[in-house]
């Protein structure tokens, strides 16, 4: 970890030196507030210091909430009413926590089955509450079942291993995460299949699998494909099969109804984050190889700190918040998958998490993601990050920009630049705003600063047309004068050659 920090710091230092003193002073004065490096990536993929979009506000433990200490909590969910549901996995219970995240409202550890008997949970790893049905969905992992229950803890449905031809009878049924889409279908992530999430209809019938990842196009896969094409039936049956990596967490975009999946595989970078429509089609398929999280992984003491997205949350504004288990960092992207902010790290201070492999879930609250909640299974705490002024300005500008309100986004983008001159998307945003306002020269300047040749090209085309129109008379006059001068000069030269030619004809 230390190496990573040093690497970043070194890079930060090198780049800081080359920037204006004012900008560097600005970044440095704020950096002191966080217990981790606040950075962002520039156009070349280099880590550069940045202003913080979020500050770690407080850390909440089980005792702070008025209950026993949390034990290996694995999931956190915030419902449409603003209440939180926390899967306190090691304590075999689900906690309902109030909107301010200050006290427990209800402890679910005992449920009434439809036949009147009582039941308990065994390492529940996932919890979800549907805004449409109002029911609670619990992945009761070690009981090999999922429970659907009402607010007061009476079970209305129990989903166990499907007795279906579609489901391999030899496979175990260990639900990890669960959610329910707006049509009432229930999706359960199982730990032992790469075919996607198991999908159940609202009455608990197994429908099939949903939204599997694509197979990474490695050299071996391509070679196998070639050999399979020319192999006989017999040979093909004995050849190795390639399976995609399995996604292991998901979140429902309550606004639009898309399901976002995240994959924590360390062997493949394909489909790390997917945006899946109800048909199971990945809308992020065109950027299947997009690098989510840290662009470079650090090596320290024989351990690789390669980004491992363990959970993601879709904010009310469509932002994609990814939690990196390896480095304890949160990466916030806007809905177009542009990186906005990076926060968090490993350590023992507020805003940092227990070393490698212990953060487990992320949730956001607010219309613009004003709060981000990160669940640390190792410490048994929830850390609350709150949006800064800078973060609010960026969110405001991004929302306007993504909505197509380029001119309205101009003022917030300028405010962003006043606070962080390295924020590239601000230059792009201003270039677009000036373009829409017809200030093509200014648009070109900002596109140049953003290093965006496409935007520059667009503005330049209009600028050129304007310039030509304004100078048309001058240009035509110039051409006429030049042609006349050329003709005259030619005649003059010919006459002179004729004059001297007679004398020099001896040659």
């Amino acid at each position: 970890m230390k190496q990573h920090h040093n690497f970043l710091r070194r890079q930060c230092a090198a780049i800081l030196c080359s920037f204006a003193a004012a900008a560097s002073a600005l970044s440095l004065s704020v950096r002191a507030d966080e217990h981790y490096d606040v950075y962002n990536y520039n156009r070349l993929g280099e880590a550069i210091p940045s202003q913080a979009g979020y500050l770690a506000e407080r850390t909440v433990s089980g005792t702070d909430l008025g209950t026993a200490a949390l034990s290996n909590p694995q999931d956190l969910f915030r419902d449409s009413d603003g209440c939180f549901y926390l899967a306190d996995t090691g304590n075999q219970r689900i906690l309902k926590i109030d909107r301010d995240f200050s006290r427990v409202l209800h402890v679910y550890d005992r449920f009434t089955m439809p036949d009147g008997s009582s039941t308990t949970l065994k390492t529940p790893k996932g919890v979800f509450r549907s805004p449409d049905t109002g029911l609670l969905y619990i992945a009761d992992t070690d009981n090999s079942r999922a429970l659907v229950c009402t607010e007061d803890g009476s079970v209305v449905q129990e989903i166990t291993k499907p007795d279906s031809a579609l489901y391999d009878a030899q496979l175990t049924f260990l639900p990890q995460k669960i959610l329910c889409d707006r049509a009432g279908n229930i999706y359960i992530i199982l730990s032992n299949t790469t075919k996607g999430a198991a999908m159940f209809s609202s009455d608990g019938e197994f429908i099939g699998y949903y939204g599997a990842n694509a197979v990474a196009r490695t050299a071996k896969v391509l070679a196998d494909h070639f050999w399979n094409a020319i192999a006989s039936e017999e040979e093909r049956r004995h050849s190795t099969r390639t399976a995609p990596t399995a996604f292991d967490n998901f979140d429902l975009d309550t606004e639009k109804g898309f399901i976002f999946t995240s994959t924590s595989s360390e062997i493949s970078d394909t489909d790390t984050v997917k945006k899946v429509n109800p048909e199971g089609y990945n809308l992020f398929g065109y950027m299947s190889d997009y690098k989510w999280g840290d662009l470079f992984s650090a090596w320290y003491s024989g351990t690789s700190y390669k980004t491992k997205i363990i959970d993601l949350d879709i904010g009310a504004d469509g932002s994609i918040n990814c939690l990196d288990q390896k480095t304890g960092r949160v990466f916030q992207y806007d809905k177009e998958a542009n990186l906005l902010f990076i926060m968090g790290g490993t350590g023992d201070q507020t805003g940092t998490f227990s070393a490698s492999g212990n953060v487990s879930a992320i949730e956001t609250a607010g219309d613009r993601c004003e709060q981000i909640y990160v669940l640390d299974a190792g410490k048994g705490t929830v850390t609350v990050f709150a949006e800064t002024t800078f973060g609010r300005t960026v969110h405001e500008a991004t929302a306007l920009y993504n909505g197509g309100y380029y001119e309205e986004a101009l003022a917030p983008w300028e405010e962003v630049l006043r606070r962080d001159g390295n924020y590239r998307r601000a230059y792009l945003g201003i270039a677009s705003a000036y373009y829409n306002m017809g200030r093509y020269k200014d648009s070109m300047d900002y596109a140049k600063k953003a290093d965006a040749s496409r935007s520059y090209n667009r503005a330049f085309e209009r600028y050129r047309a304007e310039w030509l129109r304004a100078h048309l008379n001058g240009i035509l006059l110039g051409i006429a004068v030049l042609t006349a001068a050329g003709l005259l000069f030619r005649r003059y030269r010919r006459r002179r050659q004729k004059g001297s030619g007679k004398g020099g004809a001896a040659e």
Binding site: L44, D451, S453, R454, Y456, F460, R464
Partner: protein, 209 residues
Amino acid sequence: MMDLTQPQWVRHVVFHPFEGFEDLRWKKGGTLKYTVIIIIALFFSMIAFDRWCGFQFRPLPDALFSVVPYLMRSVVYFLAWVVGNWAVCTLLDGEGTMRSICIYSSYALIPYVVSTFINVILSHILVQEEQVFFFAVYYIGLIWTGILLFSAIKAVHQYSVTKTLAAILLTVAAMLVILFLAVLLLSLFQKVYVFFYTLYTEILYRIKV
């Protein structure tokens, strides 16, 4: 007949691709001074293309600029070409000397250099959608230079067409060998340097203790 000054020779050669170099050879025209100028111009045309291009065409971010690749692509490649061609054609009964190969080859590069400079200017006028003009100029320059280079080699060694083709192919192979050996030599020298440097630090430590 054909008592041309040096600048006139340049013009004559460039605009008469098929007999220009024969004339140049017959009248023993051409000077190394122009070779130097042309190669320097080639070097700067490449840099200008990447640095002074209109922003809508610029592929290279400022931070990644280094002068070494440009030196490599102009001066080093040209020298490798001359040496390789001389080495090959001496064995193949070519009549050219190192000096004449230098002069003739460099004169042949003029259209390419000029087209690159024209493109630098064009890039400030055109938008991305009009890239065809850009490519047209580039390919005209490239093909023109190709033809000139061919007839330069043919004239300087007094070869037939087929023999010229063979000589050019062999020259390219020779260039590869030369560059390979150069890289090898460089890395070996680096090793030698590292060896002596380690020796130096070792002695320094011993003295200190």
